[in-house]
Symmetry: C2
Subunit: 416 residues, 2 copies
């Protein structure tokens, strides 16, 4: 007889479900589908040559063999030091002891769940919020306290009531949020940091896209504002904010190198958790990332990414203006990879997707990004992955689908 | 005020403690210390040139940019297919749907804990067993049912009583076990698989060193014996064994590429868990690993590793014979990276280590490898990482330390 596996799994396994995004990506893998569904960078501008050259320098270097050996759990020290120096540019006063290297930001989310979340703990989140965070924390039995957003990000007027539910921490993506593309205003950033301090609730600030700003001025990060509020100006940050960022969007996601900035006490616990989770992030990948970033190449490359994505965003926005029905609204992100479409109340974006897939165009319906339901009439559109000609074509097709779908509903309503 | 982090952590965080091995490694990082402490491969035989050449072929290839892009959670399909074909060589009848790529075997252990272990679940383990597994599963609240070992591995006569405690699964390292270097005999393998089947308890077979055999004949894996017992001969294994292995010991640990073989139902749950944990293992690392392995290079390289490690094992065994006191006993492993020293009852290997570190030689005391205590008089010695001349020198120094330490105790006893 075989093992009855279904009767062996842990309780938490019942809470694991496939990512709607990943399942949809499978649907859109046919090369003739124009997909605005994934959150993929543009592979045609990946710095393949520079990557190879950096790998050569690392492996031919004095300590080439060390790149293939086991290394420490906290990460390659020169890379951690460089991240600390880089953070200083943005006014984040930290040193290498505040930095942990992770295997992508998804691992940072998992490790935070592991060290903080008891079954039933509440996490305060934006509604909608990043699906990967929900997936990571569902496994630890998290519950969610959603706070609504508008075009300036999380509505901080509703924050105080949410804080009084006693959340374990606040999770927020202040820059060009996934999924909405919305940026948290400076005023609300200050308010958020102040309320977090007042209620003694820490913040997890997820910032994968912060450097991909296409217009407007850089806004100070929450960790920066918190350090100011704490009156902290030494290089060993010990405040209320845990900050996440990644090389996935500014270099390449296929190498899985990201980082956490946090008070040293939290870094220590994350290191213990990471030891048991994957021992360490790949040594070679960390050394090659350091090699690429240290010479100034990364800064130039980020400029290229901004130019390409900014043009794609503009192309998508103008095509939507031209082709989408008036009843549909959308955000105008100042950076990042995504924008957010809002259909009239009562419409269902999942039905629109089904019709769109028949026309070989794809996006992600917004409902799964709401932890406690809602958002059936919303949709996430990615503008980084498709070239402009396909953006034009895809948005035109999607516009036709929307005209038809929204028209039909109106007709049905008339008949009813 | 700052966040009171200590009051924010989850209950499971209390069970996370630093690895004794990792802490000790820090002590032994001085270049003049001869360390038998870590489990490190020999970096001087890492195939640095071949690695670079494979990276070039991948990045210059038709789909070079895809190596830097996001990819699927289950892993790079050509690599999974190759692992399935390779497993057939050893009589393991599986296909790619039975294979998941993980970020090192440590991640496989973590994911198994995540999908199987509820707080308080019992895991049946060899005593001593691999410390990294205990670290991974402590975070999920595992308890342990240890079964003693002798020179033929886990004592299967004591297995039935342990199985009646209702363990979630059995964890066993049948080949050149970490920490003891002991191999489970064929007779006991058959008995273990049969008892697992009779009690309906699955087996996790951890096999990082199986291909590093220096003498004697290859023994069939548990997954192989289980498939025979199930009368299963199709290419979609659905039995009782989950099998783990890795490229860390046959290629390089710094790239973090390993694999799990399991029934497709279990692979599916592991994939869901991995999605929330780190999305995927680095695409580039999987493609480069495939590129290195597919041309036959890996087979030749494993032959080189066997020759080097086998000579180092022989050097260590003969030096121990020459320099260690008669009261000390040790295992004679047929492969792998480690051997196990046993001091007389009442001796404490931790005290020996302290004295040894003063003489600039290091090993790992055995007690932490016992989940429920014991083993204070045991020690793990690694023979893969140090060149032969240092093995001679280090074992001579350690022999003097042991002569002195064991002699002192005898003297004290005489005086008392």
């Amino acid at each position: 007889m075989h093992t009855l596996w279904e009767h062996r799994y842990a309780q938490r396994t019942e809470r694991m479900s496939g990512s709607a995004i990943r399942e949809l990506l499978k649907l859109t893998e046919q090369p003739d589908t124009i997909s605005f569904a994934g959150g993929l960078p543009a592979p045609e501008i990946f710095p393949v040559q520079e990557f190879l050259a950096a790998t050569e320098r690392v492996l031919h270097g004095e300590n080439g063999a060390l790149a293939l050996q086991y290394s420490t759990t906290d990460g390659y020290r020169p890379l951690r030091e460089m991240i600390a120096r880089h953070s200083l540019r943005y006014g984040i006063q930290v040193n290498a002891d505040n930095v942990l290297i992770t295997s992508g930001s998804q691992q940072a989310l998992d490790l935070l769940g592991k060290i903080f979340i008891n079954r039933g703990d509440r996490i305060l989140v934006e509604a909608p919020t990043y699906l990967g965070a929900l997936q990571a924390w569902n496994a630890y039995g998290a519950e969610y306290v959603p706070v609504p957003m508008d075009e300036n990000g999380m509505n901080t007027d509703e924050l105080e009531q949410a804080l009084r539910t006693g959340p374990k921490f606040i999770y927020v993506l202040p820059n060009f949020q996934n999924p909405t593309g919305v940026t948290l205003s400076l005023e609300r950033r200050a308010r958020l940091v102040e309320l977090a301090e007042r209620y003694g609730v820490p913040i997890v600030e997820d910032d994968p896209y912060g450097q991909l700003r296409y217009e407007g001025d850089h806004l100070p990060s929450l960790v920066n504002l918190d350090a100011q509020l704490q009156g902290h100006c030494e290089l060993n940050y010990t405040g209320n904010v845990i900050y996440l960022s990644t090389f996935s969007k500014i270099l390449a996601p296929g190498i899985r190198v990201a980082w956490v900035i946090a008070p040293p006490n939290v870094i220590h616990k994350l290191v213990l958790a990471k030891q048991g989770t994957d021992l360490q992030t790949a040594t070679l990948n960390q050394m090659v990332t350091f090699e690429m970033a240290r010479g100034g190449f990364l800064d130039r490359h980020i400029q290229t990414i901004r130019e390409v994505y900014s043009a794609r965003r503009d192309a998508m926005l103008s095509a939507m203006q031209e082709h989408f029905p008036h009843a549909v609204h959308w955000t105008k992100p100042e950076g990042g990879l995504f924008l957010w479409g809002i259909l009239p109340e009562g419409e269902n974006a999942r039905h629109v997707l089904e019709a769109a897939l028949r026309e070989k165009v794809a996006f992600v319906p917004g409902a799964p990004f709401y932890p406690n339901g809602r958002g059936e009439n919303t949709m996430r559109l990615n503008f980084s992955n498709m070239p402009i000609v396909k953006i034009h074509d895809g948005i035109a097709r999607l516009g036709q689908v929307l005209q038809r779908e929204l028209g039909e509903v109106e007709l049905e309503e008339v008949i009813a």
